[in-house]
């Protein structure tokens, strides 16, 4: 049917544009000279990865990705950026003889991932994942780590309050 073909095309196009956004953002974050441009690239990649999660059928992970990585991590980086007047003009330095190592590692990892994936079966549309087991498992099987993390976060909040409330000595 022609409509199914059309729908599949839209699907593939959206997926491709997400992938391009992630890769371009990552390259921007590493290569650009100005700090703000690098920051923008980082945000692009984070949002793109969130889109990928949504595509793969897990809206919860997508929203969490935006909330934690874009909303918390990037805003914290932005706060640091807004405190400096340096735009970061130094840029990249010419790679030495050791500069060949990172591309080699990257290629090896990419190759192994592709090799591993080539044996899998390809599925047209991903199914929406049932996310409720995540919550059930956090409150059952993994209760102790979950509690430790929540205590850590509560301590951090109370610590922030006490740091703000106690007067600093000169």
């Amino acid at each position: 049917m022609s409509f199914e073909r059309f729908a599949l095309d839209i699907y593939a196009l959206t997926f491709a544009s997400l992938l391009i956004q992630i890769v371009v953002g990552a390259v921007m974050a590493v290569m650009f000279k100005k700090l703000v441009h690098c920051f923008l690239g980082l945000v692009m990649t984070m949002v793109g990865v969130a889109g990928l999660y949504y595509f793969l059928g897990s809206p919860l992970l997508a929203v969490m990705q935006i909330m934690i990585y874009v909303g918390a991590v990037c805003v914290a980086i932005a706060f640091g950026l807004s405190l400096t007047h340096k735009t970061g003009e130094e840029g990249l330095q010419a790679p030495g003889p050791r500069g060949i190592v990172p591309p080699l590692i990257t290629l090896a990892m990419l190759g192994s991932v592709l090799l591993g994936l080539s044996k899998r079966e390809w599925v047209g549309y991903p199914q929406k994942i049932d996310e409720s087991p995540i919550g059930t498992m956090l409150l059952g099987e993994y209760l102790l780590p979950f509690e430790v993390i929540s205590i850590l976060l509560t301590v951090a909040v109370i610590g922030a309050i006490s740091v703000a409330l106690i007067k600093r000595r000169r």
């Binding site: 809206p59 929203v63 969490m64 935006i66 909303g71 807004s82 922030a160």
Partner: protein
């Protein structure tokens, strides 16, 4: 996630509907703001264009459309252009899971509230990029204030929402309203959280008395000092849409959304939204702007401890009952 004819049609309809809501809301709220400001200062506000000056904003919009957009020569052009767009798009998308009645909703998400909170954080990134992109010291000061502000209010804001989620037992905006149908509105169970949330959304939408990002009397116009014409009005479109969104979430969380006697649901919803918008205008035209350090002190030393205590007490009481 199959794509069908209906899902494509629904998506197009959603985009058209949200664009309509955003546009009409902005035109109406700007008019309302000027009328409220006028009457609070014993003036009349706009009266000339259309009945009660209702078409004043349309005329202003046409004027802004025809104005030249000036690019500062030392500005970072791509970021300068991107910033207002980054400000507007998240609030646009965040309207998708908001229910206007039991059946009138663009898309029901079981994590609707989380989506709105997450997208609300992106607005500040737009403001930061705007301040940075145009190479102007007032703009940069405004932007850095906005980022300091988001750190101060966002944690209390989330801690005010958590008790409501505990009471309702869901993140779906529709289910939260349905949960209030059987009991009372959550504002009666959670008066402290409701009050703190009102303060926090005034901070969140950069409204006076917390409008440090623009602060006309200190920073010329803050982060949008260098913007002109339609790009300037995009920031205002984003701000007024954000106010609409925050009011909608407030009425869903605390005042029972579309619930109400006699009148149909969407009308109750709109009445509650514009009640909150009116409250925010009332704040703006009666309170003087506080200082930056006072705002930070207030956020970290008063809002945060009280909201944390309120959340812990709610959780404790619910565990006992």
């Amino acid at each position: 996630m199959m794509i069908t004819e209906i899902s494509i049609l629904r998506t197009l309809l959603t985009i058209a509907g949200i664009t309509l809501v955003v546009g009409i809301n902005a035109v109406f709220v700007v008019w309302l703001e000027r009328k409220v400001a006028g009457h609070m200062q014993f003036r009349l506000g706009p009266t000339e264009v259309g009945p009660f000056g209702l078409l004043q904003t349309v005329a202003d919009g046409l004027k802004l459309l025809s104005k030249q957009i000036i690019f500062p020569s030392s500005a970072d052009t791509p970021i300068f252009i991107l910033a207002p767009i980054i400000c507007l798009i998240p609030v646009f998308v965040a309207l998708v899971p908001v229910p206007f009645s039991k059946t009138l909703q663009a898309h029901e998400l079981d994590i609707g509230l989380l989506l709105v909170i997450a997208l609300g954080l992106l607005n500040t990134l737009g403001i930061l990029l705007a301040g940075w992109g145009c190479d102007n010291k007032y703009a940069l000061l405004g932007a850095s204030r906005a980022v300091a502000q988001i750190l101060a209010y966002k944690i209390p804001l989330l801690l005010c929402i958590l008790p409501v989620i505990l009471l309702a037992g869901t993140f779906s905006l529709r289910e939260i309203v349905v949960a209030q149908q059987e009991s009372m509105w959550f504002a009666f169970y959670q008066p402290v959280a409701f009050f703190m949330y009102l303060i926090a959304i005034t901070m969140e939408t950069n409204r006076s008395p917390f409008d440090f990002a623009e602060a006309e009397s200190e920073l010329v116009a803050g982060f949008h000092t260098e913007y002109s014409g339609m790009m300037f009005s995009l920031f205002f479109l984003a701000e007024y849409t954000y106010m609409f969104l925050a009011s909608a979430i407030a009425s869903i969380l605390f005042l029972g959304g579309w619930l109400g006697p006699i009148l149909p649901g969407p009308i109750w919803m709109l009445l509650k939204i514009y009640f909150f918008l009116f409250l925010m205008m009332w704040f703006r035209w009666t309170f003087p702007r506080v200082r930056v350090d006072q705002m930070l002190t207030f956020g970290w030393k008063i809002l945060l401890p009280i909201s944390l205590l309120n959340f812990l007490i709610t959780a404790g009481v619910m565990a006992v009952l």
